[in-house]
């Protein structure tokens, strides 16, 4: 049914359609509206049977999720930012144990400095945790990916994160098509666990494994993720056949055929990039966008196939590895091993900095002319950076960086955007 609603609400309804047995979560912006929505559905009896468990922290949320999933219950949770870091130990345990939990990450920056706004630092911090990571471009895709994620997680017996941009998607009111319960039931069969904690048939889950088999357990996790490279497109095709729209998959190109320049990105910024590409194409620039929907497993072959005919690749990412540069771009480089391409990393939108079409267009014109720096920070305010560097050069006791920069910027309330 078509509906104009908030992204968080759409995801809550999608999760409810998947009939989770247990939902446990601790509120943190910008994830809160999702679990509030689910809490309401459970309380009203619209989602039943389902146990909504209030927990005292994110660490508890993932720990409860592990326990519940191990009993064979379909289990869901959601978090963001600092909350994901706080549950990190249990995040690794969930994947190491092969428990098919689905978790929404409402992508948000990591402090310090404390910041509630969107970037991809939080999910990137867990990219090696063994969870699959799917990124949504729109609220429709976020909704659809949750339905696909339960199927994927349970077929593999591996946990899946569905990453959606905090605020930009979670708090946006858009048109979404919410499927019927019967259609979702036909797409997503009841969960059949590979391992169950059951008092009538006692087993232990979570043995200590020494050097004799640890590497093999890890390798098997890798092999599972590699098998997901075939499963993810297949599930996306099944989804399209049943629901009539393309969502998910490994990668998705937009106007990439004959493109000399291709921009690679994850998440909602792909929308703004598509508008930018249309404007540049109208001006005769051969440019396209490649969206990565599956970040883990990373689709090396699909990325290579999509980019190999281009002359240059610009990876635009909302993540940043201090001391190196790009995070996504490192993986993209690996996909392009041996190919001679101009490669650029553009770090953008950190901590909620707006990524505007005007800035993207300016940056991409520089890229097309090969005038871009290999590592570019989109719309970085060099004025306040220089001022702080001068302060530090002049005096030992230069004080806290964040507070200094805020003083230099002045009151933000007077600014519109």
């Amino acid at each position: 049914m078509l509906k104009q609603t908030e992204g968080s609400r759409a995801v809550a309804e999608a999760v409810a359609l998947c009939r989770p047995d247990v939902i446990c979560a601790y509120p943190i912006s910008p994830q809160t509206h999702i679990v509030e929505g689910l809490g309401e559905l459970v309380k009203r009896g619209d989602l039943a049977p389902c146990e909504f468990i209030n927990v005292e922290s994110e660490f508890a949320a993932m720990s409860v999720a592990i326990g519940s999933s191990a009993t064979g219950a379909r289990t869901y949770t959601a978090t963001a930012s600092q909350g994901l870091l706080f549950m990190a130990e249990a995040v690794y345990n969930a994947s190491g144990l092969g428990l098919p939990i689905v978790m929404t990450i409402a992508n948000r920056a990591i402090g310090a400095p404390i910041n509630i706004w969107n970037d991809h630092s939080d999910s990137m911090s867990q990219r090696d945790s063994g969870w699959l990571q799917l990124f949504a471009e729109t609220n429709q895709e976020a909704l659809d990916l949750h339905i696909q994620a339960f199927k994927l997680a349970e077929e593999l017996s591996m946990p899946v994160m569905v990453c959606m941009d905090g605020f930009i998607l979670t708090h946006a009111y858009e048109r979404v098509d919410i499927p019927d319960q019967a259609e979702v039931d036909a797409f997503l069969p009841p969960y059949q666990p590979r391992q169950v904690l059951d008092p009538t048939e006692p087993v232990s889950i979570g043995a200590m494994v020494g050097p004799e088999a640890f590497m093999e357990v890890r390798y098997l996790a890798h092999a599972k993720q590699l098998s997901a490279l075939e499963r993810i497109p297949r599930i996306a095709e099944e989804f399209e056949a049943r629901f009539g729209r393309k969502s998910g998959g490994l990668v998705r190109g937009y106007r990439c055929e004959d493109a000399e320049t291709i921009v690679v990105a994850l998440g909602s910024v792909i929308g703004t990039l598509k508008d930018t590409v249309d404007a540049l194409r109208a001006d005769g620039v051969a440019i396209g966008v490649l969206g990565i929907q599956s970040y883990r497993p990373f689709p090396l072959a699909a990325v290579r196939a999509a980019l190999q005919a281009a002359k240059r690749v610009v990876v635009l990412e909302k993540s940043f590895c201090v001391g190196l540069g790009g995070v996504v771009s490192t993986d993209v480089r690996l996909a392009l091993s041996g190919l001679q391409l101009h490669g650029y990393t553009v770090v953008a939108g950190l901590g909620g900095r707006a990524i505007t079409q005007a800035s993207l267009e300016r940056m991409l014109r520089d890229a097309v002319a090969d005038l871009l720096q290999p590592l570019t920070f989109l719309d970085l305010d060099w004025r306040i950076v220089q001022r702080q560097l001068e302060r530090e050069a002049q005096t030992r006791k230069s004080g806290p960086v964040a507070e200094n920069l805020l003083r230099d910027v002045g009151p933000v309330a007077a600014k519109v955007a």
Binding site: G271, T356, Q357, V416
Partner: protein, 196 residues
């Protein structure tokens, strides 16, 4: 594509106003995207919300920098925030106030725009009358419908009923209808004055 920017203060339902407008546009078969300015919301703090309306899918995810319409829910923001920033030359402005643009001290700025597209309406007073609470958001949407013709009053009423129920919905629908009427009359007066 039409771009509408809402300015108000935390607690005035600024974000809800943008969402209501998006629902109203959806009711009329259009694509719409509403989103807040992603701040840490505090009562009384300046808040901005945005709404885009188009006949095709809206992909752009940037804040609205060059609005076609401004809705100012709190006139005390006029001298605190650069609310007119980026407004299109033929843009619309609706301010919640009993006073005129000149009395509000923005007469000079108003001269840069089309007189017949700038109006004030006493939305807080209308809200108090119908709701007993100073919530101008849905009321201003009634005025917006009359001023711009971009959505119908019916669609606004429908949106209000989609989001609220009972007395709150009834009060807001009645208040939006009154604002619609007030603005319609004010527009006729402006048109008469311009004709003379």
């Amino acid at each position: 594509m039409l771009q509408i920017r809402f300015h108000g203060r935390g607690g005035q339902g600024v974000v809800t106003a943008a969402e209501l407008l998006a629902i109203a546009a959806f009711e009329q078969g259009r694509h719409a995207q509403a989103f807040p300015s992603f701040g840490s919301e505090r009562t009384g703090a300046p808040v901005v919300a945005f709404c885009r309306i188009d006949d095709r899918e809206i992909r752009l995810r940037e804040p609205i920098l060059a609005p076609d319409v401004l809705i100012i829910q709190d006139p005390t923001l006029l001298h605190q925030v650069d609310v007119f920033q980026g407004l299109q030359p033929d843009g619309y402005v609706l301010i919640n106030s009993k006073r005129s643009f000149d009395d509000l001290g923005v007469g000079e700025i108003a001269k840069r725009f089309r007189r017949e597209r700038l109006l004030t309406v006493a939305a807080t007073e209308i809200a108090l009358k119908h709701l007993g609470r100073p919530l101008p958001n849905a009321v201003l949407l009634g005025g917006f419908a009359a001023l711009t013709g971009l959505v119908t009053l019916d669609a606004v009423a429908h949106a209000i009923r989609a989001k609220f129920s009972g007395k709150v919905a009834d009060g807001n629908v009645a208040a939006a209808a009154e604002a619609h009427e007030v603005v319609r009359h004010a527009m006729l007066e402006v048109a008469d004055a311009q004709a003379n």
